[in-house]
């Protein structure tokens, strides 16, 4: 990324979308909408002072909703360009409230609340669509209860939990515990506040809240002050009860040590995507190995129909995972996930080797979700005038693997079909080659220069 940002021949238009394209191979005119960041890219040094001081917190999409960020933010720490962006949906200033803090603290004077979307015209010889994929939403599979059971997460959420720079600094805490801890924090703040309030009442009337409440219950009055005291006291009791229950629940909260990986979630499934997403078997193995490296007691079970460890060194990696990292591979499709005691998800599956239905409880279940065509691919395909396949990937043929149906427009990576990083990187070079062939052909001067 950094190399791309620094390269003199690359203009990076981040936070931008292709709006329109005309012309033909060798000579396209492309209109790009550069969305307003409300931050001047040329001035912003990426120091991050604005995010530090911004008073508004928002759920962090990059960390899969597992953490928080500010309304003026960098999508993620190592992002290029490092220019911050103001989230217009949450920024107080942009929503008519009084704020303007970031503008005051920014030493570079980069904050510009009046910035507008800009349309930019580009003259290019060839276009490469590398728009990637989206993660399949497993809530569509009712029997896996993804939204209902807190300790069922997607692989991409799990990657954030595993990441040293993620919301848990790489410790695999269970979402149920994380949520409980977050709730405890909120409740404790509220409890402190109501405690102060009750103390004030007690001082004012010279009696304990319990005493007062007993009497009040027997003979309620419509004195506003007393009514409030009673209400606050009641709420406080309920809160304390909830806090005790939560504290009890997280008392021995430990990191998840028994992991289940469910393969082909949305893939190889006629109800959703019939294709195989190619990379999920490998990333589950990788994640199980990393989890075991972080905490050697961690054991994992990977449930799959076939474990498709297909690629250079992959089968060896899979076997090593089994031998050294506590991974058990189980052949079969998981029928259902239910919640058992202790917030433990229970996996119900048929073991095809023994032909029996089994149940097993885990600390955390990870869903290897399908590689879905990227959102907005249909609109983009219409703009670019390229054909899609039956599922919504950009269509190609085996003998011309990066050529789309439109001459001069090429595709690489998961925009064309699910594939892993090495394959995507190789294809990126392939697409660059095809693009270069067009560009140099259309430019007689350069054609001579290279000949």
């Amino acid at each position: 990324m950094l190399d791309v940002g620094r390269h003199p021949n690359i203009d990076l238009l981040a936070y931008s979308e292709v709006q329109h394209i005309e012309g033909q191979a060798g000579n396209f005119k492309v209109t790009v909408r550069k969305k307003a960041r409300y931050v001047d890219e040329d001035k912003c040094t990426g120091c991050g002072l604005c995010s530090e001081k911004c008073p508004t917190t928002v759920v962090d999409a990059f960390n899969e909703g597992l953490g928080m960020r500010r309304a003026v933010y960098a999508y993620f720490a190592q992002g290029i360009p490092s220019t911050r962006t103001i989230d217009p949906d949450h920024c107080r200033q942009l929503n008519g409230k009084k704020c303007g803090i970031c503008q005051k603290v920014c030493q570079a004077g980069a904050i510009d609340y009046t910035q507008q979307d800009r349309l930019i015209e580009l003259q290019v010889g060839a276009v490469i669509a590398a728009v990637g994929y989206d993660v399949f939403d497993p809530a569509q599979i009712a029997e896996y209860r993804y939204r209902e059971i807190e300790n069922v997460v997607t692989a991409i959420e799990f990657e954030r939990l595993l990441s040293a720079s993620g919301p848990t600094s790489g410790h695999v805490y269970r979402p149920s515990d994380l949520n409980a801890k977050a709730e405890i924090q909120v409740l404790e703040k509220q409890a402190a506040k109501s405690g102060r309030m009750l103390a004030r009442f007690e001082k004012k009337y010279g009696r304990t809240s319990a005493d007062f409440f007993m009497q009040y219950q027997a003979a309620p009055t419509d004195d506003a002050d007393q009514e409030k005291w009673a209400r606050v006291y009641q709420e406080d009791l309920a809160r304390k009860e909830r806090l005790a229950a939560l504290n009890d629940a997280v008392k021995d909260a430990a990191t998840a040590k028994r992991l289940a990986f469910i393969q082909c979630v949305g893939s190889r499934d006629f109800r959703f995507y019939p294709f195989c997403s190619g990379y999920c078997c490998m990333h589950s193995i990788k994640e199980a190995i990393i989890a075991n490296e972080h905490e050697p007691q961690t054991v994992s079970t990977i449930f799959g129909m076939d474990i498709r460890a297909v690629g250079k060194g992959f089968e060896e990696y899979k076997i090593r995972g089994g031998n050294k990292s506590g991974i058990t591979y189980v052949r079969g499709r998981v029928a259902e996930i239910i919640e058992g005691p202790g917030r433990n998800p229970v996996v119900v599956y048929e073991d095809t080797r023994t032909r029996s239905v089994k149940q097993e409880a885990f600390d955390l279940v990870i869903l290897a979700t399908a590689c879905a065509p990227t959102r907005g691919i249909a609109e983009l395909a219409a703009t670019l005038n390229v054909a899609l396949d039956d599922y919504g990937f950009i269509k190609t043929v085996p003998s011309a693997p990066v050529d789309t149906s439109m001459r001069g427009i090429f595709v690489c990576g998961c925009a064309g079909a699910p594939m892993d990083v090495p394959e995507s990187v190789a294809q990126a070079s392939s697409a660059a080659e095809r693009a270069a062939e067009i560009i140099f052909q259309s430019d007689p001067v350069k054609e001579k220069a290279v000949a």
Binding site: P274, D306, G313, E315, P398, V425, A432
Partner: protein
């Protein structure tokens, strides 16, 4: 740049706050005060953001106004910011290699956030060491070397031919060396290609015809490379052709030598007649299957995914499914069963082919490698896990899916080019994820089944990709190399033993006969400055020019004296 005597050395030290990233955790004033006391330091400045435009201007101003001839920046990581600071020095007229960077963020403030005193102490030590080294830095010049705009492609299969056509279309001359008598590689032996069921010979003929017609491509068949000397841009290659040996100047090399199917001698009663390989089945299908064949049983993972060859050869499952579909379509009376461990039908097209095969009536039975199928006179016995019992399948023809293996002579090619192969004999790329088509050695690339078994889609994509990678030095016409490299600092000490030559992973060293006897010679362009040679040389004859023994000793001395 005038020669600097020790007394002329004027070091400027710029200490970065990185907003509060550094300043929030270290005592910046103490660091600046300390830097002032170090020898040769004439200028010390603290900056909020040294990498910001104003920070950069401060460095330039310092060089010009304070007449600095060495610059030290104590800030973040050189991985991201060294190039920027170097070029800023150059813009101010200072040789960019008279710059030294000290990382007090990642190594001090970030990792010791809670220990201000100790972290500051560590930063003092590091800054002191950086200054000590800076005083001994010497100017270096970027190494430029011309590139011969002619490519050599070894192997004329679909991957190599695709790469050749691409480079030729870009205007470069290409020499293809094929050891067989015809171009086309594996395609010449196949029947139809999944998933589209295109005739393999058609694709081969079409591609070969384009190659033969292209004026920029020279093809040598029944030829092989016998010697490779030189380095990126200037390879001197000897090719043994049908009309004798030829010496050719080459700029870059692409390895596309493919792979070969395992012949399963001794496995499952392999006899090449009733029990054949998928590779043989292709020829049988091209000729037409014997009408008597009514029951075909295919066995997957024959000779692969075992102790001897632990790898999965990736494409044999696709081949089996394809051939099973072809049989079902062309001989509807014939039944096909596939006995498998995991059906590796990854991706969109393969999985679709897998579904099609089931719709076409192909039967799948999973087997456990601990209890493999038994091939008998006219039957194959297998344990059926869904039925939970052993069963016998009628079998007039047993087809073994054997893996593609590295070519028998891959090892020789690897030695010839000084590029590595992995434990299975396939060529090893420079970086598994980020450089899948490059070797670690500059100017040599790889694609197709020579890298790892690939289907046509993958082989073609990789051929294009390798061409793109190769075209970078070709289109520039020259290569620029970082001058932080190995130098023969003490020629007299070198005994020409060649220990370093054997260990250099980039082929950047050779022993030459000189007036003073056998001496090692560093090929500047090929050297990556990794330092293995300098660390190995027991005579201390070799040295990395920005990590000399003297510089490192000075750093150690500085570390020892910084301590109060």
């Amino acid at each position: 740049m005038p020669e600097n005597h020790a007394s002329d050395i004027r070091i400027g030290v710029f200490i970065c706050h990185c907003g509060s990233n550094i300043a929030g955790y270290l005592d910046m004033e103490a660091l600046a005060d300390f830097a002032e006391t170090r020898p040769h330091v004439v200028f010390v400045q603290r900056n909020l953001y040294t990498c910001s435009e104003s920070g950069i201007n401060e460095i330039k101003k310092g060089i010009q106004e304070q007449d600095l001839n060495r610059v030290v920046v104590a800030s973040c990581t050189p991985r991201t910011h060294e190039p920027l600071f170097r070029s800023s020095c150059a813009e101010a007229g200072l040789n960019p290699y008279l710059f030294e960077m000290v990382n007090i963020r990642d190594q001090c403030s970030w990792v010791h956030m809670q220990e201000k005193t100790d972290a500051t102490e560590k930063a003092r030590e590091l800054i002191g060491m950086g200054i000590a080294k800076a005083a001994l830095l010497q100017p270096q010049e970027i190494i430029l070397s011309e590139v011969q705009t002619r490519a050599l492609v070894i192997g004329g299969g679909i991957a190599g031919l695709t790469a050749s056509l691409s480079l030729a279309r870009r205007g470069y001359e290409v020499v293809v060396v094929e050891k067989d008598q015809a171009l086309g590689g594996m395609l010449n032996h196949l029947y139809k290609l999944g998933p589209q069921m295109q005739a393999a010979k058609e694709l081969a003929a079409e591609t070969v015809q384009k190659v033969n017609a292209h004026p920029k491509i020279t093809v040598f068949t029944r030829a092989h490379v016998t010697q490779v000397k030189g380095f990126i841009g200037k390879f001197e290659v000897t090719v043994e052709t049908q009309s004798g040996a030829k010496k050719i100047d080459i700029g870059i090399i692409i390895v596309a030598t493919g792979a070969q199917p395992l012949v399963p001698e001794g496995l499952y009663g392999y006899d090449g007649k009733r029990t054949v390989t998928q590779f043989q089945l292709e020829t049988m299908l091209a000729k037409g299957l014997d009408a008597a064949v009514r029951h075909v049983v295919m066995i997957q993972c024959v000779g692969s995914r075992n102790d001897e060859r632990p790898f999965c050869a990736k494409i044999c499952c696709q081949t089996a499914v394809k051939n099973a579909i072809l049989i079902r379509r062309q001989y509807p009376e014939t039944k096909v069963s596939i006995l498998y461990r995991d059906m590796q039908m990854y991706g969109v097209e393969n999985e679709a082919m897998f579904r099609d095969s089931k719709a076409a009536g192909v039967r799948y039975i999973n087997y456990d490698p601990a209890d493999p199928p038994q091939v008998k006179a006219d039957k194959v016995g297998v344990y059926h896990p869904l039925l939970g019992r052993k069963m016998e399948l009628a079998a007039d023809l047993v087809v073994l899916s054997t893996p593609l293996l590295a070519r028998e002579d891959a090892h020789e090619t690897s030695q010839l080019l000084r590029v590595p192969v992995n434990e299975n004999g396939f060529f090893l790329e420079g970086h598994v994820k980020l450089k899948p088509l490059d070797f670690a050695t500059d100017g040599i690339f790889l694609c197709g089944s020579a890298r790892f078994p690939a289907n046509i889609r993958e082989a073609v994509a990789q051929g294009l990709g390798a061409a793109a990678r190769a075209s970078i030095p070709l289109s520039k016409g020259s290569v620029e190399v970082e001058p932080i490299i190995s130098v023969l600092a003490d020629e007299d000490a070198c005994r020409g033993c060649g220990l370093c030559v054997a260990l250099c992973p980039y082929g950047a060293l050779e022993v030459r006969q000189t007036e003073k006897g056998r001496k090692v010679h560093v090929i500047n362009v090929a050297c990556k400055g990794c330092g293995i040679c300098a660390a190995t040389c027991y005579q201390h004859a070799l040295s990395i020019n920005s990590f000399t023994d003297r510089q490192i000793e000075a750093q150690i001395d500085a570390f020892l004296t910084v301590h109060p």
